[in-house]
């Protein structure tokens, strides 16, 4: 690891974590929109919102599971450094609520992990009407959780991230 500084190494990890989160956010948002407000056939050409929610949700399921797990692994790895180099200064600066929201972010990530197998199963049986409601709300739960975790991570990076 002599060719790369320690700071650069962890910065690259944080960027990869962020990029994976962006991909996950996009996939889950498309899917959540598709289940909450399914597109209907229109006479004219579809607009942006209609196109956004017209995605075939089932095709996203495996990618969402893989992305959630990869984002989780990278986040968990970075967390070792966060605990010492980020959290301690945040506490010293008195940003208690910011730290509290980070604690919630880690809770969301782990509980979301527990939903992945059944989420995947529901989406692999998209024609099964008995799963329709559960599929919808499990997907929305994951999408809301992902947005929450993403925004908390973004704010934390602003508080004490790159260059601090």
């Amino acid at each position: 690891m002599d060719f790369i500084s320690v700071n650069t190494f962890w910065t690259i990890f944080l960027i990869i974590h962020g990029l994976l989160a962006v991909a996950l956010l996009g996939a889950l948002t498309h899917q959540a929109m598709a289940v909450l407000s399914p597109a209907r056939r229109l006479a004219g050409p579809p607009g942006f919102v209609t196109r956004f929610r017209s995605v075939p949700g089932a095709g996203y399921a495996t990618a969402v599971c893989v992305l959630w797990i990869l984002t989780f692994i990278f986040g968990a790895w970075i967390y070792t450094k966060y605990r010492i180099y980020i959290r301690i200064p945040i506490e010293q600066a008195g940003y208690w609520k910011t730290q509290g929201f980070f604690e919630l972010k880690e809770h969301v990530a782990t509980i979301g992990l527990g939903l992945l197998p059944i989420y995947w199963y529901f989406w692999k049986n998209p024609q099964d009407q008995q799963y329709e409601s559960a599929r919808k709300w499990v997907t929305v739960w994951l999408a809301v959780g992902c947005w929450f975790a993403f925004l908390v991570g973004h704010v934390l990076n602003n508080v004490r991230g790159f260059g601090s």
Binding site: T80, R83, I84, L104, G114, L115, V138
Partner: protein, 134 residues
Amino acid sequence: MTNTTTNTATQSAAAQRSSLAVSAKFKAFAIGFAIAMPIMYVVCDLFSLPLFTFHPATNRFGWGWEAGRSGEGPAMYWYGWTALCLVVCTLVGIIAAMLPQKVATKVPLWLLWLLPTLAFIPLVWSLMPFWTKG
């Protein structure tokens, strides 16, 4: 002719689905896993039950709960909670998969999203020091 084409397409689509996606045992496993996770996670968090403690400053692991040692930085429990949850929930899932198929069909599916949502009531409450300081 149309019916034959439709049937062939349906059979082809079914064949393309992985065996896990049509497995009743996997469905039971996944339901057991998903229901156990928020319950187990809340228990681990509220009762401080990590499988192990990680000390990031020294890269040291210790079984169960350990306090941070003087001069060795803070202790981390989230890895231990997550690991214990994964182990226990996997076991619950395996047991659920071994139960008769009709048991899984009786589980209300709304529990799958309601329990993770309700889990945040005690989890937010457990973070009260963070909300009330400063």
